[in-house]
Amino acid sequence: MTISKAILSISVVGLTLAACDREGRTYLSEPNPDYPGVQELGEMAVSDLTDFRNSREDVIYYGRLGAAEPGTYGGATLTFAGTGGEVCVMVDPEAVFWNESVSAQSPTENYAYQDNYKDDGDLDLEVGLTAYYTGSPGYEMGDFAAVYEDSLGNEVRLEFNECYMAGYGGLPDAHGGRGAIEYCTIDTSVHPGKSYTVVLNTFSVPLDDAMVDYAFAIVEGACNDIASSVGGLTECTMPAEARDPDDMSIPYEPFESLETAFCNNNLFEFCTNNPQLCGDED
């Protein structure tokens, strides 16, 4: 073996051993006994569109979910009664996030800073008739799937989740993604008065505090109509989803300011003055 080969081999072994030093524990969240990872919120009323438009803060429910126990799914469930028409179910998990502008030719000043990814969580929506829900509310998360077995013993998975979100290209079964609002229209005309279950599946909790705050609302009408009425369903539709760590009834001030800056298209100035709430400047 030549000297150069020996040096190469030693280097590879050294790098391999060094790689073992990387644990990744910082990417895992610990459960918090004060905020369980699986919660049942009970029955909620369907809000009137006028109320949602005029006094939004009164009809929005603000919640907080902790990380689930290792090896289990986390999230919250709640129910509402079918109105006999269309209702829009929407959830906005904390926090604000954006993509850093990296274009050399036409950089966007507002997105010159990186997003602080450690304060973002993600909740995924599912909605269906309560009769089809397989979970145990407050104890174990479930879904709206059932198995049908045909006469030859072949099993077919039936999906009773009625919350369809279109993704890019109009493909169904999409989700809003990290920190983004999710919403879907549920047509309850076939089952007026029947109980529907909303499932907020915890996809991720923020790494900085292992708790995901969120804003939630159910409003009468189709989501498209509501979006037209309130100027779109966006990050800014249900503001101040991040709540004060010690008092859920009030917004978490630094975040509220960040979100306001985002919604007012004024991020650059805000991040310049509050760099701890944003990432590094490009």
Partner: protein
């Protein structure tokens, strides 16, 4: 080195024979329609007189699927078993293992022909104009409402619309010159010695289950020579100034919810073909020919009344 190369070559070649034991199989078979399926009743609008015409052009699209079982209990005619009814007023899904067709809807250049042309039924432009303009007395019209009575105008219009240069690029024509200049004629159905009509079919990648069955139906044309399995609001959209329409295409859930599209006058399979091999490997090993896998579509829906 030479030994190594030869060894690698042998290994590579032997890899081509690797059997994945896939649970899906390709099925080639034959479907037989009774003579009556090719008979169309032409009504003279002025006199009300009727005339029966037997013609391969009257054969509608044939839709085939593979299902766990077939029963007449649900609708009065043979129909695949269904899963649970989830939405009131909508039948249960049949959850087929696979399917295919003999003939599909194709757009023959004029919106007047949307959902009225099935591949494998018409030989030439003349054949189409003869069927509609002469036999049915329901002339093909162009976007200006003018009767299309020239096959050359028909051809020129199609070439212009699709940017084509040969007839063989138009899949609704079954007779054309191939690249060698030979006449190719590939109509789907041929009349056999019994007077019935038979055609070969392919069902690709059917998930194999022993005892599964081939069932299907022929969508018979309506009085206006349209078909219930075609949706005029689907397919490619043509937008050219005010000439705005869709080409038309089949509904996408035909074999999942057959009863939504089957009406009196359609022909269904009464005695389905049953797959007896124990698994997909055994079915492949049996190497059945198209004539071995045969289904007869001879149950006339509505005849039970």
């Amino acid at each position: 080195m030479r030994t190594l190369v030869l060894s690698l070559a042998v290994v590579a070649i032997s890899g081509c024979t690797f059997d994945e034991h896939l649970p899906q199989v390709d099925v080639r078979g034959t479907v037989v329609l009774p003579r009556e399926a090719a008979v169309y009743t032409v009504v003279d609008e002025k006199t009300g007189e009727t005339e029966e015409v037997e013609d391969v052009r009257a054969i509608g699209p044939v839709i085939l699927g593979v299902f766990p079982s077939i029963s007449s209990d649900d609708f009065g005619y043979p129909h695949p078993e269904m899963g649970p009814i989830i939405v009131d007023g909508t039948p249960g899904n049949t959850y087929p293992y696979g399917g295919g067709t003999v003939g599909r809807y194709d757009f023959a250049c004029f919106s007047d022909l949307s959902c009225r042309i099935v591949t494998g039924r018409f030989k030439t432009f003349e054949d189409i104009l003869d069927w509609y303009n002469i036999v049915l007395d329901d002339s093909v019209v162009d976007e200006f409402g003018q009767v299309v009575d020239s096959s050359e105008y028909f051809r020129a219009y199609c070439y212009e619309l699709f940017d084509f240069t040969t007839d063989r690029e138009l899949s609704f024509l079954s007779e054309y010159l191939d690249s060698e200049g030979n006449i190719v004629s590939d109509l789907d159905f041929q009349q056999n010695a019994d007077g019935d009509y038979s055609a070969e079919f392919d069902l690709w990648q059917v998930t194999y289950e022993p005892d599964m069955k081939i069932w299907g139906w022929m969508d018979s044309p309506s009085e206006n020579f349209t078909f219930s399995t075609c949706d005029l609001d689907r397919g490619q959209q043509n937008v050219e100034y005010s000439n705005d329409y869709y080409y038309g295409a089949n509904f996408t859930d035909l074999i999942n919810f057959p009863s939504k599209y089957i009406y009196d006058g359609d022909f269904t399979v009464q005695e389905p073909y049953v797959f007896t091999e124990p698994d997909a490997d055994a079915f492949r090993a049996a190497a059945l020919t198209a004539s071995d896998v045969s289904v007869r579509m001879d149950y006339l829906v509505g005849s039970e009344d």
